[in-house]
């Protein structure tokens, strides 16, 4: 028993709330990748080991599994800090912002970069609890971003489908190229 305890002490480290959840999840991912190796990589006949297409995925996934197992061992051996569920909920809360981001990505090709950004910035600020002048500042920031990146730096963002509704001519071309 004392030998097991000594062995555990060797792996003791600082850990934060939710450390065990992450360590378990990462090891599970590594094991899934390890199990998928025969079907997801190819061993080519008459090819040296180091030139095999499967060599580096194998090295990385085996290393991931070994290090993840050791990390998990460290997690089990270290003093636990309560609050695992709250921490997992904190992580989950970030999914809302990811959804906001993806919604913005989805809207831009439809409504155009200018309109989408002018709506997105104040709307997100509204969700964050800002009111009044801050919403105007957010719109100003959105306008500045579009002007700098799309109009001045000509960053590759496609013109919105909404501009098709404009009458053919100089205005439509101007809006499609610059906003």
């Amino acid at each position: 028993m004392s030998r097991i305890r000594t062995f555990q002490e060797l792996f003791r480290r600082d850990r934060r709330r939710g450390d065990l959840v992450f360590a378990l999840a990462f090891l599970a991912l590594a094991l899934v990748l390890l199990a998928a190796m025969p079907t997801e990589t190819t061993w080519v006949k008459r090819t040296k080991l180091f030139a095999q297409p499967a060599f580096w995925p194998a090295v990385s996934v085996v290393a991931m599994t070994v290090f993840a197992a050791l990390h998990l061992l460290g997690s089990f051996s270290s003093p636990r800090i309560p609050g695992r569920l709250q921490e997992a909920l904190y992580w989950a809360r970030s999914l809302e912002w990811a959804a906001w981001f993806l919604a913005y990505v989805w809207v831009v090709p439809l409504a155009g970069y200018l309109l989408s950004t002018l709506v997105f910035c104040p709307l997100l600020c509204l969700r964050l609890g800002y009111r009044g002048r801050t919403l105007l500042v957010a719109s100003g920031f959105g306008l500045a971003v579009v002007v700098v990146f799309k109009s001045l730096l000509s960053v590759k963002i496609p013109a919105g489908a909404i501009y098709e509704a404009l009458p053919p001519g100089a205005l439509r071309t101007f809006m499609m190229v610059n906003f």
Binding site: G18, F50, P53, A63, S94, L102, L124, G129
Partner: protein, 497 residues
């Protein structure tokens, strides 16, 4: 000399100088805002520079890379919050000086130390360049493979107390780099039959997710903070000049910065630790360290600002990045059709000199800017954190979407954003993922070509540099294991007593 003049000629263009000005001042502003940092800014701006002339784009991003630490010292000293991670040590002595009413002196010393070390490190590089031009061609495939492996080993071992976590993240990075269609035998690797995985996972998408989006999510998740600041009064020029009273500390700190910056995977933190420890040990007033010591401040700032220039050595000479920012700079070079590596010093020495001169100029621009703009920058620090999160989220869209106009890229970046947030909350290292992705690809290519000419394992290390690198790797791993066991035994003895 011809190469140097040719380098000056390359830079002497209005658009290049404007890009340098925008990059340098932009870098200071970005560095001064806690929660943004140069990694986020470079990741966002990288796709925006695609349309620019290669030198213009490179110089702008180089400006951000080299100047952000100047800006990072400002909030570290005034509000005890480092603008960039490497300014953390600056808070130890900078903020107590502010509390003593010596804010302008602390800022001046920080800017002065950063300026001196920035210039010294670039001069060291210029002097080293002819040597590098001779040594770099000695690096064949096996030496570059071993240097990349050394980089991976160092970045894992540098994360003391988190070696396993750093190891699994580095391995994860290598794995990410292998996903997609393999370019030699044309087989699919870990694509799970999905077309969108066939082209692999883009490095810039991962960087934007792990650095920019994760930071935005963190800021949006956390409660609002808007730091209060007070105006800085006094002569900044005189305060900057005071750094020459501590010229020995500044010179030694710069030396540590250059030395540590050159070694892949080590970087600013080790340089600062060595510089700070040296300054404390040789100080007449060691007890003041951590309580507002001007020497401690100079030691910290001189070490960290010497690193960016030095970190360009393995990047330019071997094509091996030593940390996340240089990994990003490597992407910048590739995007702009410049291939760092042994050939660069032989064929494009003028270009290398142009980069060095640009770095000297950016240090001059920044220090002049800081003479007048510190109080103006204080207003930027006051941006509420959740509003800043909204700003980063909006800007991240430009970075990710403009790469390939791919919604899938944006979804992958969002996924890595959530993953990065979890890592940051758990205080687990992110940098090894990026280095794993970059160095893994280099190792795969170089090992494959090296092994074609190797018959026995000993052949692999039969050249002096290869042997030296192999011995260094074995020694480092061996010493680390011995060190861990020694610490464990010491703890055990202590407890039993």
């Amino acid at each position: 000399m011809d190469a140097l003049l040719s380098g000056i000629d390359l830079l002497a263009r209005l658009d290049v100088l404007m890009a340098l000005l925008i990059g340098s001042i932009g870098g200071v502003i970005i560095g001064a805002i806690p929660g943004v940092g140069p990694a986020v800014a470079i990741a966002i701006l990288l796709p925006a520079t695609f349309a620019l002339d290669p030198l213009v784009g490179l110089v702008m991003l180089l400006g951000i890379y080299g100047s952000s630490m100047f800006g990072g010292a400002l909030p570290a000293i005034l509000i005890n919050t480092p603008g960039t991670a490497v300014n953390a040590l600056t808070t130890y002595d900078g903020h107590p000086m502010t509390q003593r009413g010596e804010a302008v002196r602390a800022l001046g010393l920080a800017y002065g130390a950063s300026f001196v070390s920035g210039i010294l490190s670039i001069l060291a590089l210029i002097l080293l360049s002819p040597l590098l031009a001779r040594v770099a061609p000695m690096f064949g495939s096996r030496e570059i493979f071993l240097a990349a492996l050394l980089g991976i080993v160092l970045v894992i071992l540098a994360h003391r107390g988190q070696t396993f976590a750093a190891g699994m993240m580095a391995a994860f990075g290598i794995f990410l780099g292998t996903i997609g269609l393999e370019p030699v035998k044309y087989t699919q690797r870990y694509t799970f039959g999905q077309d969108w995985l066939a082209s692999g996972v883009d490095l810039i998408v991962v960087i934007l997710g792990l650095f920019a989006l994760s930071q935005a999510f963190l800021l949006l998740n956390d409660p609002e903070e808007a730091p209060t600041t007070q105006r800085v009064e006094g002569s900044m020029l005189r305060a900057i000049g005071e750094v020459f009273r501590f010229k020995r500390i500044a010179a030694i700190g710069s030396g540590f910065g250059v030395l540590m910056g050159m070694i892949p995977g080590v970087g600013e933190f080790t340089a600062q630790f060595l510089s700070y420890t040296y300054a404390q040990k040789t100080s007449k007033d060691p007890d003041l360290f951590g309580k507002g010591s001007p020497e401690g401040l100079v030691a910290s700032e001189s070490a960290n600002n010497a690193v960016p220039a030095a970190a360009m050595i393995p990047l330019l000479a071997l094509g091996i990045p030593g940390e996340a920012l240089t990994a990003m700079m490597l992407s910048v070079f590739y995007v702009h059709n410049v291939t760092p590596g042994p050939g660069l010093f032989q064929t494009q020495l003028d270009f290398v000199y142009a980069l060095y001169i640009a770095m000297i100029l950016l240090n001059v621009i920044v220090v002049v800017f800081m003479l007048f703009a510190s109080n103006w920058l204080l207003r930027i620090i006051r941006i509420p954190t959740r509003f800043l999160g909204m700003m980063i989220l909006t800007l991240s869209f430009v970075g990710v979407y403009s790469l390939r106009n791919s919604v899938t890229d944006c979804a992958i970046a969002a996924g890595f954003g959530v993953f990065g947030l979890v890592l940051k909350r758990l205080n687990l290292p992110i940098v090894p993922i990026i280095l794993g992705m970059v160095l893994g690809g280099i190792m795969e290519v170089k090992l494959r070509s090296a092994m074609a000419r190797v018959k026995t394992p000993l052949d692999f290390v039969d050249r002096p540099i290869a042997a030296l690198l192999a011995v260094a790797i074995v020694l480092l791993v061996g010493l680390h294991i011995v060190n861990v066991l020694r610490q464990f035994l010491a703890r055990r003895v202590q407890r039993e007593e």
